[in-house]
Amino acid sequence: MLSEAGSEMTVASPSEKRRGAAGRGRSFRRVLPYIEAGALVVALVLPFVLGDRTDLVTLATNVLILSMLAISFDLCWGLAGIMSFGQALFFGVAGYAIALVGRDLDFSDVWATLPLAMLVGLLLSGLFAAFLLLGRKTPSIIFVAFGTLTGSYAAERLVSGWQYVGAGNGLSSVKLLKLGAYEFVEGDTFYFLALGLLLLVYVAARYFKQSQLGLVLAGMRQNEERLAFLGYRVQLFKALLFSFAGLVAGLGGALYSYHQGFIGPGNMGPGLSTTAVIYCLLGGSGTLIGPIFGTATVEVLSYALSDIDAIRHIWPVVLGLVLLLVVMFQPRGIVGLFVSDRERIGSYGRRRSSG
C-alpha cells in the first residue's frame, strides 16, 4: 500500500522526483524574484509601448485574464498535486453568472460582481472538492482527473442546450463592468484592472506557497501517505487549495466575460480546461510565474498565426504536440530552464544566502 501510493506520485509528477543536475546541494542561486520583477516591469510599460495598437492591448489584457486560469491550474497541480482537467468549469460558470446578473438584474458594479464571481468559483470548486477529494479513501490522481473532466464536459453540454442561458450561442453583449458611473471598455484601463487583480492573485498564491502551509504542500507532492503518518489531513489541504483555485478561476472568468462582452459554452468545456494545462506545463508548473509565461506564449503565437489559414486549421493539433513534447522533454517548462529544482520546490526553514 505504501509503495503503491509512492509510485503513483512519481508517475504523476515527474518533475518532483527527477534529479536535475542544476541546483542540487546547498548552494543555489535564487532567480525567481528577478524573473518576477522583470515580468512586472514589462507588464507595467507594455500599454505605453503598444500605444494605439488597441488590438494588441486587447490581446495583452486577454493574456492577463487567461493567466488567472493558468495560475488556478498551477495551484491545483503545481502546488497541491491535484490533476484537474476541469479548471475551465469554474472559469466559465462564473463568467455566465455575472453575464446573467448583468442581463436580468441590470447590475454590473465591480464591487459586487467580482466578489460574486469569486464566490461562485469557490462554492462550485468546494462542492467538487467535497465529492472528489474528501472521501474516506484516498482518491487516485486518475479519479480526480476524470471527475473534473466529466464535470467540465457535462457543464458544456448542459449549457449548450439551455435556452435561458443562450444555448449554443452563449451570452453576448454582456453588460460593461462598472465602477460608479465609469464603464470599463477594452483598452488601457481594463488592462490595468486585469493587471492589478492578477497581481493580487499572484501575491496571494505566492504567499500560500512560501508559508508553512506551502511546506506541507511540498511534502504532500513528494509522499502523500508519509504526510498522513505525520498527522496531516492531506485531503483537507488539497480541498482547501482546490477551492481557492476555483475562486481564482471564477475571478478570471468574470473578467473574461466583461472584457470579451461574450461568454459561451466553450469557455467552460474540456477544450479550455486542457488549454489551461498547456499554459501551465509549457511555462513551468509549480513556479506560479511560469503559467503566465506559458499563457503569453500560447496566446501571442496563436494570435500571430491566426491570419494564416493553413496553420489556423491545425492549431489545436500543434498545441497538442507542444504539450506532448513539453511533458516528454522539458517537464519543468520554460521557467524550468532557469530555475533550479531546489528553488522551485522551495525551502521553508532557515535561509542561508546563496553561494
Partner: protein, 244 residues
C-alpha cells in the same frame, strides 16, 4: 491498563494468514521488542498498529481509545508515531524542512497559513538536529544523506510528533556496526518520553535496548516476557535454531 492493548488481532492477505489472533500489551515507558523469523508477521503487526492497513478482526486500544478503524492521521494525532522500514524522508526537501514539517504537524491550518510558528519551532528543530547528529547537514537535501543518516532523520521526525508510543520498523536496517551503536545511544534517552515498539532483525541490538520481548512465529505469539526469560525459553530457542 497498558498504553497499547492488542487483542485477538488477525490479518490475512488472500490465503496467507499474516496475523492470527495476536494479544500484546505494551506498557507506558517500556521498550518493547518484536522479534521472529522472516514472515512471522512483525511488520504486518506494526502496520496494523500504525494504520497502514486495518486488522481483519480483533481490537487495538491505544491510551484508552479504540483505534482499530482509525485513519493514520487520527492515530498520529492520538500520539502514535511510525518510523517506516524503508526510509520515507522527503528527498527533495532540506533536512531542516523535513524536521520542521514533522514538528509543525500539530499546528492549525490558519496558523500554518500565517507561518506563525516558523521561528518559534526553530529551537525545537535545532534541538533534534543536534541530538541526531544532523546539524552540519541541515541545509542539504534529505535525499543526499547516507542511508544511516536518513534512518536517524526518520527517527527524529517520528520523535518530533512528541508521541506517547513510537513504532520503529527496523531502525538499524542497512546500517554499519558503528552506526548501529550510535543508534542505540540515540534511542536510549527516549525512555523518559515515550514507549517504544521495535521490530528488528539484529538480536544483539534488540537485546541491548529492549526491556521486554514478544516473539512472533507464523502470525502467532510464540512467547513473551523480559529479555532474560525469552533468552532461556526453549520454544524460542527451537524456532531460532531450526529456522533462522
Amino acid at each position: 491498563m497498558a498504553l497499547l492493548e492488542i487483542r485477538g488481532v488477525s490479518k490475512s492477505f488472500r490465503t496467507l494468514r499474516a496475523l492470527d489472533g495476536v494479544d500484546i500489551d505494551v506498557e507506558a515507558g517500556r521498550f518493547h521488542g518484536l522479534i521472529g523469523p522472516n514472515g512471522s508477521g512483525k511488520s504486518t503487526l506494526l502496520k496494523a498498529i500504525a494504520g497502514a492497513h486495518f486488522a481483519d478482526s480483533g481490537t487495538i486500544v491505544f491510551d484508552g481509545n479504540d483505534i482499530t478503524r482509525a485513519t493514520p492521521y487520527e492515530r498520529a494525532r492520538a500520539g502514535l508515531s511510525l518510523k517506516f522500514q524503508i526510509t520515507a524522508v522527503l528527498p527533495e526537501l532540506s533536512v531542516y524542512d523535513n524536521i520542521l514539517l514533522a514538528t509543525q504537524s500539530g499546528e492549525s491550518l490558519p496558523r500554518l497559513l500565517r507561518s506563525s510558528s516558523r521561528h518559534a519551532l526553530g529551537e525545537e528543530v535545532s534541538g533534534l538536529l543536534e541530538r541526531f547528529r544532523l546539524v552540519d547537514r541541515a541545509d542539504d537535501l534529505a535525499g543526499e544523506l547516507s542511508h544511516g543518516e536518513q534512518q536517524w532523520l526518520e527517527i527524529a521526525m517520528a520523535l518530533a510528533l512528541k508521541p506517547k508510543l513510537l513504532l520503529l520498523d527496523e531502525p538499524t536496517g542497512g546500517m554499519s556496526p558503528e552506526e548501529r551503536q550510535v543508534t542505540g545511544k540515540l534511542l536510549e534517552p527516549l525512555r523518559a518520553h515515550c514507549a517504544l515498539v521495535i521490530v528488528e532483525h539484529d538480536l544483539h541490538f534488540i537485546r541491548d535496548i529492549c526491556d521486554y520481548l514478544t516473539v512472533l512465529d507464523q502470525g502467532k505469539v510464540l512467547d513473551q516476557g523480559d529479555v532474560e526469560t525469552i533468552q532461556r525459553s526453549p520454544k524460542v530457542q527451537q524456532v531460532f535454531t531450526t529456522r533462522v
